[in-house]
């Protein structure tokens, strides 16, 4: 039983009803809460143990113990969440909102102050900026 | 024939081709061929045959400089697997129906799964 133009009904219905198209980018997109957008570090609990660096499949995270920095290359991270799972301190989380496209592959670096284990910290840590708010951009 | 568990049946080289032919005659499909290079000395080559929901795996152990006979004259579709093994592992498969001359994937490295020194 062949028909010609059997799609007509659907086509005409589509023609008169509202298109399925989103209004992005004119209106922001709302993401479901589980969306894996990018990894953020809560630098407070981080001990710069480097577990995340070692477990990250593409090697997007660099933990510099000596320099006291934790850095992520958002252009290398595959949002797998393995670092989040592995972090012993549970200080990583993966949240909605993707790394913005840009013409440079910037690395976000967060200064992490780890209280040296033997002695208490010399200086009380000033309130740390959140990773995604004030990243230090480095090539 | 030696059963390694997991339905893997170890075959000696001389009983290999007749067994494969038998499978073909009984209308089994060729499921896959897989090569692994273990202990820096031997290739373990596994041939899987399927029929309906059944599966059996034949296992050949091949020394690194030994040759394996191609089954591509029994199963045409083995050509892809065998060329792949030759290109990636350097396994000597002889008498292939179609020899791609290591041009299946056209990679830069030779036999990346078996490092030069190892071979």
């Amino acid at each position: 039983m062949s028909k010609i133009m059997s799609f007509t009904k659907i086509a005409l219905k589509n023609l008169v009803s509202k298109p399925a198209t989103t209004s992005y980018p004119f209106e922001p997109k709302e993401y479901p809460e589980r969306t894996r957008g990018h990894v953020v570090l809560d630098d407070d609990p981080c001990i710069l143990c480097g577990m995340c660096m070692r477990s990250c499949p593409p090697g997007a995270i660099k933990v510099d113990r000596a320099g006291g920095t934790w850095a992520i290359n958002g252009y290398d991270c595959i949002q797998c969440g393995y670092c989040v799972e592995k972090c012993p301190k549970k200080c990583l989380s993966i949240v909605p909102g993707y790394t913005e496209p840009s013409s440079e592959k910037t690395i976000q670096t967060v200064k992490v102050e780890v209280p040296p284990p033997p002695k208490p910290a010399a200086k009380p840590a000033a309130p740390k900026p959140a990773a995604d708010k004030a990243p230090e951009n480095k090539e | 024939m030696q059963d390694l568990g997991q339905d893997i049946i170890k075959l000696e080289k001389d009983e290999f081709l007749p067994e494969v032919q038998k499978k073909r005659n009984e209308n089994w499909r060729l499921g896959q061929i897989c090569c692994a290079f273990v202990d820096g000395t031997t290739y373990e080559v596994s041939y899987s045959f399927c029929k309906d929901l059944e599966v059996v795996h034949f296992r050949l152990e091949v020394g690194k400089d030994e040759e394996v006979l191609s089954i591509s004259r029994i199963y045409d579709s083995a050509v892809f697997y065998e060329n792949e093994m030759h290109e990636l592992f350097g396994l000597n498969v002889t008498n292939m129906a179609v020899d791609c001359q290591d041009k299946l994937y056209r990679i830069k490295e030779t036999t990346p799964f078996v490092k030069k020194e190892e071979k």
């Binding site: 298109p19 290359n73 958002g74 | -």
Partner: protein
């Protein structure tokens, strides 16, 4: 080159991606994201394209292909690397057959990260690319890519050196 502003035609090439990013690129053209709203046409023909979307990393075989397609596109043109693989090689960068991101063979203008890159992100990338056309002139920076650029520094030097003289047989 503001005219491209309203009519960016794109060409998609799948380097060695896992399809994740490809189907997201394709999804951009389908009803829910419908990039044709912005005048984007998925041309499939390098000769007609303004924007080159590459997904996936670069391997031995596709390096030549990517270069060739790039060279076939008329100026002005921009290149978008879509997805983590195209940006850096991603999870596959340690594979024996992966050279790295797209920028190892042709100059990349915009990196769109994500694994897979989301349609929204791709749209953002295209919007940024379109903005770039304002800076690119028609004949000025025609770059013919012949050699695989080595390190970053050498790359810029080489591309400047390779500016083509225009005008065919005149």
């Amino acid at each position: 080159m503001n005219s491209i502003h309203k009519s960016p035609w794109l060409l998609h090439y799948d380097g060695s991606s896992c399809n994740g990013c490809d189907i997201e690129v394709l999804a951009c053209t389908t009803p829910v994201y419908d990039v044709e709203r912005f005048g984007v046409v998925n041309t499939g023909n390098p000769m007609h394209a303004d924007i080159f979307l590459v997904t996936g990393g670069i391997n031995t075989q596709n390096a030549e292909v990517v270069k060739q397609i790039y060279n076939q596109m008329p100026n002005p043109k921009v290149v978008l690397a879509i997805g983590t693989c195209a940006c850096t090689g991603g999870v596959f960068k340690e594979c024996y057959n992966i050279q790295g991101g797209v920028d190892t063979v042709i100059p990349v203008d915009i990196y769109v990260p994500g694994c897979a890159a989301r349609p929204e992100s791709i749209i953002d990338g295209v919007v940024k690319a379109v903005a770039l056309f304002k800076e690119k002139s028609k004949d000025g920076d025609f770059v013919e890519v012949d050699e695989v650029p080595g390190d970053e520094e050498a790359e810029t030097e080489e591309t400047v050196a390779a500016v083509e003289t225009e005008g065919g047989e005149e």
